[in-house]
């Protein structure tokens, strides 16, 4: 659901800390008709211009908190990502992205489901890696977005 609209079009920007570009960011929504407990949010498949940015370089900013890693989010079992709210996906990539247009391949993984599933125990032990399609029932395809880097940088 909403696959073509999960990333806000003007949200691709470089992230800056103390004058250094440390990575980039995208503003994203939840691919569902409802919010979810934050613990279920399992990260992203993300490839920009053919370069892959796996979950261990991703952090997620939501609910007015500093960006958190997906291992931290996994423990937020009572905090909710409400349906109306946009989150910010930060990616550690020293130097950030070059100015201009970028090709972004993107898939969100959220372990929300209709009741018990045959995969439940497996996903407790080994959560699916985003991009495999597993854990992405509401957004089953990797979607290609063409996005222009907004020139102004954001301070993290």
């Amino acid at each position: 659901m909403f696959e073509n609209f999960l990333i806000r079009e003007d949200s691709l920007r470089n992230d800056e800390v103390d004058g250094d570009v440390v990575g980039f960011r995208l503003a994203v929504r939840n691919a569902n008709y409802r919010g979810v407990f934050l613990s279920l949010h399992n990260g992203y498949f993300l490839e920009v211009d053919g370069v892959s940015y796996p979950r261990d370089v991703q952090t997620f900013e939501i609910n007015g908190r500093e960006p958190r890693t997906f291992s931290e989010l996994r423990g937020q079992v009572w905090e909710h990502w409400d349906y109306d709210d946009e989150g910010v996906l930060h990616v550690a990539a020293p130097g950030g992205l070059a100015p201009g247009v970028h090709t972004v391949r993107f898939q969100q993984s959220v372990l929300a489901a209709y009741g018990y599933q045959p995969t439940d125990e497996e996903w407790v032990a080994n959560p699916p890696v985003p991009g495999t399609g597993a854990g992405s029932e509401k957004a089953p395809e990797i979607v290609v977005h063409t996005l222009e880097l907004t020139a102004e940088k954001e301070t993290v």
């Binding site: 919010g35 409400d82 029932e137």
Partner: protein, 374 residues
């Protein structure tokens, strides 16, 4: 008493996503734009700051109900068994979540709570004493491809007959009266590469299944959900693996597609499998079950104008005549709430091509008004 009408705000999921309609605007639409409709149904995790919307919100909520002349009818709740991530939730943990949701529903004035079709009866029974105490009715959704004739329904009826509880029942989703895949779903499949021969085969197979003349084995869908079944189909088409109980049927559908489509691609097979997602349930069963009906999801995917009848609308893929006649004949006096789901079949294109949820719901209400008055 007559059938009452309302709207499930699930219908407005896309308008809310794009911030075109906030919660108050959705309530206003029901109260001011839909003649004689007053029912409000929400999905808690869609419409609310969850799990605690706060006292200020609750006060505002009741102000809106007064201002727009609307009534909270049913709150739809969810169950994500991986919430704790370090273990799969037990039935008792699921029941704890349901109890919190029942309290939330009661706080907002809802009289009914809908649980998902796959929630085990044990979870509902564990929460039932609280529901009785707060006078909230618990209803299990019966959603395609489940029929009303399966175990999911009979186990509830048996419990009610044994104990006499008035707080347990079912929420039929009228997708169970679907008799062919929706034309908007088929068009969506074709834009993604399915051949017109395959979408025609999906309709043909649905008609054969309905008539009991399909060249594929019957299969009990009583415990299936469409989403989970689609995952099974995908696995079957890519690996050939299939649950033995479904094997004959799945192979039969595949052979049917091969007989109708030259050199079918995976998506051609996938679309024909949609014919299996239909419940082919009976109006007679619904009429007999009316005393157990807590609330109804008036599911639809596309309301189009009836040829030659300007201003009158229908969903060509769902047999509403049978469904509404059964409710009337059974003496149903609860709510039927419009639940539009076809917006997802337009989201593969741009903003300009998105469906108009508000207009679709208005058309559905026209149909309900006409059929319930007949």
């Amino acid at each position: 008493m007559a059938i009452k009408r309302g709207v499930s705000f699930y219908s407005y999921q896309q308008s809310q996503f794009f911030r075109e309609l906030d919660l108050e605007s959705q309530i206003r639409e029901v109260g001011e734009a839909l003649p004689d409709a007053d029912g409000v149904e929400i999905v808690d995790e869609m419409s609310l700051r969850y799990p605690d919307p706060g006292d200020e919100f609750v006060a505002r909520w009741f102000d809106w109900m007064d201002r727009y002349g609307t009534t909270p009818v049913t709150m739809d709740v969810c169950m994500d068994v991986l919430q704790f991530r370090d273990h799969v939730m037990t039935y008792e943990e699921c029941a704890d979540r349901l109890r919190r949701d029942i309290r939330l529903a009661e706080r907002l004035g809802f009289r009914n709570v809908r649980v998902l079709s796959v929630v085990p009866l044990e979870v509902m029974l564990s929460a039932l004493p609280l529901a009785e105490e707060l006078d909230v009715r618990l209803g299990k959704e019966i959603h395609q491809p489940m029929p009303l004739e399966g175990r999911q329904v009979t186990e509830i009826v048996e419990h009610v007959e044994r104990t006499g509880t008035r707080h347990l029942g079912i929420v039929p989703d009228f997708g169970i009266f679907g008799w062919r895949p929706s034309e908007v779903q088929l068009a969506w499949f074709e834009r993604r590469g399915a051949s017109p021969a395959a979408t025609a085969a999906a309709v043909e197979l649905a008609e054969l299944l309905r008539a009991g003349k399909a060249p594929v084995g019957a299969v009990d869908m009583s415990f299936s959900t469409a989403g989970n079944l689609r995952v099974d189909v995908k696995r079957f088409l890519t690996t050939g693996e299939v649950d033995p109980a479904f094997a004959d049927t799945f192979r039969g559908v595949k052979a049917f597609t091969e007989s109708r489509v030259d050199d079918p691609a995976e998506i051609d097979h996938t679309v024909v499998f949609e014919a299996l997602m239909l419940s082919n349930t009976s109006g007679d069963t619904l009429r007999e079950l009316v005393p157990h009906v807590v609330s109804v999801h008036g599911k639809f995917n596309n309301m189009s104008e009836i040829p030659g009848r300007p201003g009158q609308y229908q969903d060509i893929a769902i047999d509403y005549d049978t469904a509404i006649s059964a409710l009337v004949a059974g003496g149903y006096d609860g709510y039927v709430n419009s639940e539009y789901e076809g917006q997802r079949y337009f989201q593969d294109r741009g903003r300009a091509e998105l469906a108009d949820e508000v207009e679709q719901v208005r058309r559905h209400q026209e149909m309900l008004r006409r059929l319930t008055a007949a």
